[in-house]
Symmetry: C2
Subunit: 323 residues, 2 copies
């Protein structure tokens, strides 16, 4: 059993390789760019931890870890094109540097290379591995489409449960599947795989709530992003959707006015409204609720509880960060 | 043994199903759109024929046929975005109707669904099937990138051999791999697989030369496209590249002037130049050369020659069409 920090270091070292050939350079430089700008490598490490929860690490966990990390980076390249995002992790996005065509193609070639990795695992669980991975991969695409659909809607038209469903698809199912894939490699029973998946999915949603909370209320020096970045662009977040539900008609009118007119003190005023309708307190409770749901499913996994320590430490690291 | 026309009918009937769920509708309508506008379904039929060359048809050949046809349609969606193409088979392209973001995502989800199909084949050759497919899939992306790289170059800077290499990747390797994949399902030896692959690759190049020829010299009523469409947009084709090589300095200067100034009689004048430097005759010979290369490899396949009849008929249909 290794700590998640050791596993991150181990995976990152192994992942720092040349993933692609040199030619055509425009294509492969675009693909390599996103891999070179860092990232926490959480998904592959979840895969390693899912394996280690049940058995000693198998090389297949690194193959599948590679696959999920490449898939995640593929989604970043394509999402950034769709969102016309100029920056990613403080660096120019792939399409900004290489243009949309090479960026689309770099994502495509990266997605194909995902299956090169998955094709290397042992035959006895290959079908299951590809099937679990594909289900998550398709759901991530569906989540991105729902997110774009929601962005085009009036925020009051977006139901909270639909929003949680979308966030689950867009950000949580890949975390959940990464754990399950590791579990499969470690020989977990179907029941234990499902517990592990549900643990990951709930942690993912709790993480997103916290991310929205930190964007609004976090210390910008520690969080590393501009405070209220989501508020400035009227992004539909857990906080905004819940605030529209919790606030009274006067507050709602004021919130909508701020969103429509974007005055210079918009962030400050929206945060005031968020606080006065107590959406900050709600967010902390809602995060805790999903965290508890997650831990309950971790408890249900039939292995010695000390084997679960690294996963609990990772969850704590992800959900109690100030940055 | 069935004729290629029977196999096309059989595959098309089976392929006319609902491939995707209903929601999110924007995503899946975009994906379904391209499947609904037709297509010759040549690639899946090559897969069926590769199987039948060696053994009776196995259901896996339909699964893999589905996969290659979905992959081909995925490339059409993404290529049309990259090329900003307004029309495909006379209908508005996916991105024109649904916008670039949904079109990118529809291609992505289609590419993932390719592997759902491949994941269903029998375990004993699954690794080989995915590996052969992936090699071709990556090469198709590389071919598209090289094509875009070439389009940005002065046509005199593009070497003929490099152009043939690009066309091979962009249009032939998927035909070749479709045949090989069918061969694998039919139990072909590695040697026979390679002959089948080479047959498909050379047929693909011959087909592209003919396509370029018909665009310039074909009967527009039969060909179904505007005559000289490639000439009008200065597209780098077999004919243009070879004409620049074959013509004398005076002709070359005239050809470049026509390309730069695009006068109203451009197509007529370029065709005159093509004829006077005999690039039309060269194209017919070059097509025949690749066709002969292909048939030589088909001869080398160690099965009774009457089993090869359907493939020869298909090649003849593809390479001697006037439309």
């Amino acid at each position: 059993m290794q700590s998640f920090k050791d596993l991150i270091a181990q995976f990152s070292q192994q992942f720092e390789q040349q993933h692609f050939p040199e030619q055509p350079s425009q294509l492969y430089n675009a693909a390599s760019h996103i891999l070179g700008i860092g990232g926490k490598r959480i998904r592959p490490v979840l895969c390693l931890m899912g394996n280690e929860l049940f058995d000693t690490l198998h090389p297949d966990a690194f193959q599948v870890g590679n696959a999920v990390e490449l898939f995640h980076n593929f989604t970043l390249i394509h999402d950034d094109i769709m969102d016309k995002a100029p920056l990613r992790r403080g660096k120019p996005t792939v399409h900004t540097i290489y243009g949309d065509p090479a960026a689309i193609l770099a994502g495509d070639v990266m997605l194909i290379s995902v299956y090169e990795r998955l094709n290397k695992v042992q035959p006895h669980y290959k079908q299951k591995i590809i099937s679990v991975f594909n289900k998550a991969a398709i759901e991530v695409c569906e989540g991105q489409q729902l997110d774009m659909d929601f962005e085009a809607l009036d925020p009051e038209k977006v139901q909270y449960d639909d929003y949680v469903h979308m966030i689950g698809l867009k950000t949580s199912v890949l975390l959940a599947a990464s754990l399950q894939l590791g579990g499969i490699i470690g020989g977990a029973s179907e029941g234990n795989q499902q517990h592990l998946y549900a643990f990951g999915k709930n942690i993912g949603i709790a993480f997103q709530i916290q991310d929205d909370y930190l964007d609004a209320f976090g210390d910008p020096d520690k969080f590393g992003k501009q405070q209220g970045g989501d508020i400035l662009v009227n992004k539909k977040t857990f906080l905004l959707l819940k605030a529209l539900e919790l606030c009274n008609p006067v507050q709602r009118a004021e919130l909508k006015r701020l969103m429509e007119t974007s005055p210079s003190d918009k962030v400050e005023k929206v945060l005031e409204l968020f606080r006065s309708c107590k959406v900050d307190e709600w967010a902390e409770k809602e995060k805790d609720r999903f965290q508890q749901l997650a831990f309950r499913r971790l408890d249900d996994i039939a292995v010695l509880s000390n084997r679960k320590t690294p996963l609990m430490e990772l969850a704590d690291y992800l959900l109690n960060r100030q940055q």
